[in-house]
């Protein structure tokens, strides 16, 4: 057994043990109803609420995908990730307090329940649950595949990676629902941010000096290659294709929408937005910085050329001390687990609330049922990861595109809660969801998910076309609804 593997296994045991203790002790908060289980009874303080938001939002993509994207395409990757953060914080400031207040007032537990309530339509709730299932399971599967690939690379085995990831995801949900997820997310979020900051510190103080160059020389090498400007990769269409699905993340992705409900009071909500802003900014800058420095060293001939962007981080980690390498590997596992278990919990909440609980099942049964659905969703994702079903894993690239029709539907209902109850608006919302999902899925089936993501028509990516068409349907519904009212 290599030094790296030995240290990794030891650190994995420490990470799992501490996380499980935290999850176990979170049971003291008490889970008696679906409201406690899925949204912590609306009692989360600002620290837990912001850390669970951050750890849920930032997946394994950051330390693997974004580092690689920056390495291969330059500073444009920073623009892509900061565009997400900028618009997310604006949406959290403008719409978040409204969602928080309405959730408490109306007793929302699941994100699909929010839409079915605002539009007074059970059918919309069912359609949204179906969209979540189609969009989110591939995303969870991709997180499991990513972790399993790391375990495989370390010599632990792909199947062991699937097992560890699935057991952690499941255990840290079923112990106390949102309470165990939020507390372990806080723990994992701290681990993720620490790993990124330590990596930057090491690059600056060890890797660059030990390579016999200065930071200025690294920057000069990046500059000469044009990587500090807009490279050929980041055409306006590509930038739009990457950013449009992500800038609406806060209102389309169920695992973050539900995190607007959980705060114990409005002051806690505001403080959590502040802490998330700080976390998001620091984490993004650190991760992009890593990708840029490694590319600069490559340009100077001091680091090997890496042709596959998802291998940049593993290659960099392989040069580090085993303890540090293990710390960063565990941070990637933590990012994947915190994203996956939040998604599983939220998708389960939609099943339980919209499809079952509202038909009158008692609380005890609901908790058992919630755990059963969480287990089934985890097993399904793990199985899809095990058989490495290419289309499903690829579909994760399109997750935010598939969820995009929810953006105009959600924003319209939150801005105009009275108008959204009108039957015309209700029909427009339903049509918007069906048409938007049909467009995304049709392209995915015909072109394949990866090609769909970057394909443009009339200079606009598929995500922009989906957003325009679904927004136009909602706008038409609003205009017709107003005209009908004026006529009456």
């Amino acid at each position: 057994m290599s030094d790296l593997l030995q240290v990794f296994v030891l650190m994995l045991v420490a990470y799992v043990s501490l996380g499980s203790l935290i999850a176990y002790f979170s049971r003291r908060y008490g889970v008696r109803s679906s409201r406690d289980y899925f949204v912590s009874g609306y009692k989360l303080g600002w620290f837990l609420a912001s850390m669970t938001y951050a750890a849920t939002t930032y997946s394994a993509f950051m330390m693997v995908g974004l580092v690689g994207l920056t390495y291969s395409s330059g500073v444009g990757a920073l623009g892509f990730e900061l565009a997400y953060l900028l618009v997310t914080v604006i949406l959290l400031a403008v719409l978040g307090p409204t969602v928080w207040a309405m959730a408490r007032e109306r007793g929302w537990v699941s994100p699909s329940e929010m839409l079915s309530d605002l539009y007074e339509s059970k059918l919309i709730g069912y359609v949204v649950v179906t969209i979540y299932l189609a969009a989110m399971i591939p995303y969870v599967t991709a997180q499991i595949v990513g972790v399993a690939a790391i375990f495989e690379g370390l010599g632990v085995g792909y199947e062991v990676g699937i097992l560890v990831m699935s057991v952690l995801t499941l255990a840290w949900v079923v112990l106390a629902g949102m309470w165990s997820v939020a507390t372990t997310d806080a723990y994992q979020g701290l681990w993720m941010l620490s790993a990124a900051v330590i990596l930057v510190f090491l690059l600056l103080n060890q890797l660059i000096p030990s390579s016999g160059v200065t930071l200025n020389q690294v920057l000069k090498a990046l500059s000469e290659k044009g990587l500090l400007g807009i490279t050929g990769f980041w055409t306006p269409q590509t930038f739009l294709a990457y950013t449009i699905p992500w800038i609406f993340f806060a209102v389309t992705n169920p695992q973050v929408v539900v995190r607007l409900y959980v705060h114990k009071d409005l002051h806690s909500y505001k403080k959590s937005v502040l802490l998330f802003s700080v976390f998001g900014f620091l984490y993004t800058i650190a991760v992009v910085y890593v990708g840029l420095i490694v590319r600069g060293l490559t340009e100077l001939g001091l680091f090997e050329v890496i042709s596959r962007s998802d291998l940049v981080t593993p290659t960099l980690i392989s040069r580090l001390h085993p303890a540090l390498a293990s710390f960063i590997y565990i941070s990637i596992l933590a990012a994947a687990v915190s994203t996956a278990n939040s998604i599983i919990l939220t998708v389960a909440s939609s099943f339980v609330r919209d499809l079952i609980e509202k038909r009158g099942v008692g609380n005890v049964s609901v908790l058992k049922l919630s755990n059963t659905i969480v287990t089934l969703l985890t097993i399904t994702s793990a199985y899809l990861a095990y058989i490495r079903l290419g289309f499903v894993v690829d579909l994760s690239v399109l997750t935010s595109v598939l969820l995009l029709p929810l953006a105009p539907v959600t924003i319209a209902a939150l801005l105009m809660p009275r108008e959204s109850k009108d039957c015309v608006m209700r029909r427009a919302a339903l049509l918007s969801l069906l048409v938007g999902t049909f467009i995304s899925f049709s392209f995915a089936l015909v072109l394949g998910p990866r090609k769909t993501f970057l394909t443009s028509y009339y200079g606009l990516p598929v995500s922009a076309l989906t957003l325009i068409i679904t927004s136009a349907i909602m706008l038409s519904g609003y205009v017709i609804s107003r005209l009908r009212k004026n006529k009456d």
Partner: protein, 61 residues
């Protein structure tokens, strides 16, 4: 009770900030050789995060 008195100007300014975030790099900073683009994107994000959080904490949105 939330006053929301700066909500509309904030939303309009935010849309302007996001447009600048998208347009400036492609119109004027696409071929830069130094850190201008990094600084632009980082600065506009940081400034807007600070403004947003200040307004939010003071109940003005």
């Amino acid at each position: 009770m939330r006053s929301r008195r700066l909500r509309t100007p904030y939303v309009i300014s935010s849309i302007a900030a996001v447009l600048l975030f998208y347009l400036i790099p492609y119109l004027t900073l696409s071929g830069v050789k130094n850190l201008e683009l990094v600084i632009f994107w980082s600065a506009i994000t940081l400034v807007w995060l600070i403004i947003t959080n200040l307004l939010l904490m003071r109940d003005l949105l």
